[in-house]
């Protein structure tokens, strides 16, 4: 019996794109539905009544929400190839910790740079650099956060990389200057088909952000 997989998401979402990367890593076929967050579909509201947010993965009619919970679900169900989490419990705990760190920090800091006042932007920029430097330290000399192989933490962070150009533009700084190893890592990840086919174009993201700023009355 064939698996029926549906993903509700939006093309710029770093959270939704994590799920796309994970599905691609596992070689899974699925139906993609682009949501308009200013006009959410009845399906979205039914499948995620608690948060009414994307991404939502619907597997054989059953919904799962929250991007890293979805990624972990995908990893557990389709464990035949490209494992994202390691097998050792301590390594798994480290991976969960760093993915949680990305979740706790990056989105909110990024918001300060893109969607707020000049004062907050400076704070946001400092915090982002600090955050990315810490992550860069954790990467060390490994090709990926997962070590030799692309893994759970890589999935959690790589989808923010197409937003780097937007952060740099509004924050007026260069992430490559501050964190060259991390940017090298993003380029390495983009060589993977699963990543390059799932991430949005950084310039399109910039246009999108600019449009949202106008809509919110920031520009």
């Amino acid at each position: 019996m064939a698996d029926e997989i549906v993903l509700l998401s939006t093309w710029p979402s770093m959270f939704g794109n994590r799920v796309r990367v994970a599905l691609a890593e596992k070689g899974l076929k699925y139906e993609y539905k682009e949501e308009d967050l200013w006009n959410k579909s009845p399906l979205l509201l039914m499948m995620n009544p608690v948060h009414k947010k994307i991404p939502v993965l619907i597997h054989n009619g059953k919904p799962i929400s929250e991007s890293m919970i979805i990624v972990e679900y995908i990893d557990e169900v389709w464990n035949h190839k490209s494992p994202l989490l390691p097998t050792d419990p301590y390594q798994r705990a480290q991976a969960r910790f760093w993915a949680d760190y990305v979740d706790k920090k990056l989105y909110d800091i990024g918001k300060k740079i893109i969607w707020s006042t000049k004062g907050e932007q400076e704070t946001g920029k400092k915090e982002l650099i600090e955050c990315l430097k810490l992550l860069e330290g954790e990467l060390g000399d490994n090709p990926y956060f997962g070590g030799e192989n692309f893994g759970f933490v890589d999935v959690s962070l790589v989808t923010f990389s197409c937003w780097f150009h937007t952060y740099e533009s509004y924050g007026n700084f260069s992430i490559e200057t501050e964190c060259p190893k991390l940017v090298a890592w993003t380029k390495r990840c983009l060589e993977k088909e699963s990543v390059s086919s799932s991430l949005a174009d950084p310039h399109k993201i910039h246009d999108f952000a600019s449009g949202v700023r106008k809509r919110l009355g920031i520009e």
Binding site: V50, I69, R92, A93, D100, Y101
Partner: protein, 228 residues
């Protein structure tokens, strides 16, 4: 063969209590190291250099931090009395509800306790909405984990204790028995369950602590509004 398990905790932390319960439910021997959070030990700062917080589980010298991460580590390392279900979909649901409890329920109830005026009213509205979702999730179950206490119960356990403490201090009914009968009865069953019941921090000390936090918050908000 020695297994060294240490738990860095404080006397009152609800987050650390989750780990105490998990270790005891699984019958794991451990040494509790009580931290004074106003004067953190060098060891705490070394083991959790990123967040500098408790709880920290140290297993054979290696630290694990963040209570949800620690719970999953414990469940994967010691297989007896499993906390998470076996089925991947049920596991995803458990993780979802635990995250909801943390991000939404805890945040809104804390705000309903610590804030004043309009902010408190808004927080109460949000808290009631969030509790409705939990109430629905309890349908047909004794615990969130089903017949036995599980992962979600441990992560929401603070509600069964702090709920009534907050209510006593601010005189606000948060989990009304009439509005949320299933949740109310879960709070009683959970609070009285063996192991859970044996580990609650002293209620009188908790009331003093949280009253002091509230007093400080009120003082801070009235001084900031009068300094205009």
């Amino acid at each position: 063969m020695g297994e060294e398990v240490k738990l860095f905790r404080s006397w009152s932390s609800s987050f650390a209590l989750r780990i105490v319960w998990a270790l005891e439910i699984k019958g794991i021997e451990y040494e509790a190291v009580f931290e004074d959070l106003s004067n953190k030990s060098p060891l705490l700062l070394q083991y959790n250099r990123v967040h500098k917080k408790i709880p920290i589980l140290v297993h054979n010298g290696r630290p694990i931090v963040e209570s949800f991460v620690i719970l999953e580590y414990i469940d994967e390392t010691w297989k007896q009395a499993p906390l998470l279900p076996e089925d991947p979909y049920e596991r995803a649901m458990a993780r979802f509800w635990a995250k909801f409890g943390e991000d939404k329920v805890l945040t809104s109830i804390w705000s309903a306790f610590i804030k004043q005026g309009k902010e408190q009213e808004e927080a109460m509205v949000a808290a009631m909405e969030n509790l409705k979702f939990l109430e629905k999730e309890m349908k047909g179950k004794k615990f969130f984990g089903g017949e036995r206490i599980g992962y979600v119960d441990l992560t929401l356990g603070w509600l069964a204790n702090l709920g009534s403490i907050f209510e006593e201090i601010v005189g606000l009914k948060i989990v009304d028995e009439e509005k949320f009968p299933l949740l109310y009865s879960w709070m009683q069953d959970f609070a009285e369950a063996p192991i859970i019941r044996d580990n609650w921090p002293p209620r009188d000390k908790m009331i003093v602590k949280f009253q002091a936090l509230l007093d400080a918050a009120i003082a801070a908000s009235s001084s900031s509004s009068s300094s205009k």
